[in-house]
Symmetry: C2
Subunit: 210 residues, 2 copies
DNA sequence: CATGTTTTGACAGTAGCTGTCATTTACTAG
DNA sequence: CTAGTAAATGACAGCTACTGTCAAAACATG
């Protein structure tokens, strides 16, 4: 999540600058709003020039968008015993990752999520990231199922899970993902199973006009 | 989709201007690329001032984003006989709407989809729209199931369907949604059902560290 | 045709972002 | 420690998306 190696003064300084920019930005976004905060102000608060800001973050949006959870979840899924059914493995892994967050991490995560809810442009880009994560998830699932990564089975399973998860991010869910949400997701998936029962191979006969 | 009433000269002119801007923009986007086309150029080609451009479209992105399919699908779902199972009703309705498109509509739809694939900012906003459509879909589904619109069952069913559908938009799917895709979706949903089998109420026992 | 309302264009201004270039700052060899 | 190299920075100029304001033009209505 943060810096590990203090390889050289240069690297350390870069990490510090990056953190300074991100912290200043987040603070100001919360205080005065995202749109009302200019890059110039952020740069000044972080004691760098605007040029430098853009060297660290390609756009103002990207300051908020950094998110390292995906690889954690992927790793957690790989760590599940092969006997565990796929869906359970995925849900359990997400749960584990979230349970392991510190209180500070939760706090900044909540701020982030609030910004996503309030600033449309940010929401759009976060959704884009989330949807991109489907591919990642599909790969791990494919591994588990022993099929190719492009296989419809793995991809659509990943898509369905992410789709369901999206559903739980929307209600003015003050705290973003809550641990209890996993139970609700499980229950939702079970009801989904019921609705899938009547499906047969031919559900799409062309039907002419209305 | 286009203009219906020629209520007055004023309305007709507005519709014409809107179409002129959109057509000019789309043509130029295809010819010289989205980023390389400035609003000023579009305005000039459409014979309006830049000010007017922004009166018709709040942002350059919105020129591409107009999309009237959602209400059509919703209407089609409502038109399905109540005996049809939900998922089948949804899939069938989508299929019907797409089958009813004219060749011209397909053509411009393909251009649109290509832009979405090629221009990240547009993709982000389209996904946002798509995810927003989950709410709409959830409402119709809730009606059919006879539950509240905020019910997890309806919402997550909608989310799952959209999630699966998203999966099929990604492969360099030259033509966007193809009619055959519906068969693949059906098959994918059936395999999904298989993976949901082992689910029980308790799949999320906290599990300590890795 | 006269009056009121909408639509338009011109203009000025803000902010995000890009590219360039000289200066400073950290690394590396001797 | 010093000289030379590579990287990071800041200052600046420039483009473009977008906003707000205002007067002129185009339509509507009696």
């Amino acid at each position: 999540m943060t810096t590990d190696a203090s390889a050289g003064l240069r690297e350390r300084k870069k990490a510090k600058t990056r953190a300074a920019i991100r912290d200043a930005a987040m603070r100001m976004f919360v205080e005065q709003g995202y749109a009302a905060t200019t890059v110039e102000q952020i740069a000044e608060a972080a004691e760098v020039s605007p040029s430098t800001f853009f060297r660290y973050f390609p756009t103002k949006e990207d300051v908020v968008l950094t998110d390292d959870y995906d690889p954690l979840v992927v790793a957690a899924i790989r760590a599940q015993p092969p006997s565990t059914p796929v869906i359970e493995a995925v849900l359990l892994s997400m749960r584990q990752v979230f349970e392991r967050l510190t209180e500070d991490e939760w706090a900044s995560e909540r701020r982030r999520q609030r910004l996503f809810r309030e600033v449309p442009e940010l929401q759009a880009r976060q959704l884009q990231q989330t949807v991109a994560a489907i591919d990642l998830l599909a790969e791990v699932i494919a591994e588990r199922l022993g099929v190719a990564a492009e296989d419809d089975e793995a991809r659509s399973l990943a898509g369905a899970l992410v789709g369901v998860a999206l559903t739980f991010l929307k209600p003015g869910n003050t705290n973003g993902f809550q641990v209890e949400d996993f139970d609700r997701i499980t229950r939702a998936l079970i009801s989904l199973r019921g609705h899938l029962e009547p499906l047969t191979r031919l559900s799409g006969d062309p039907a002419g006009q209305a």
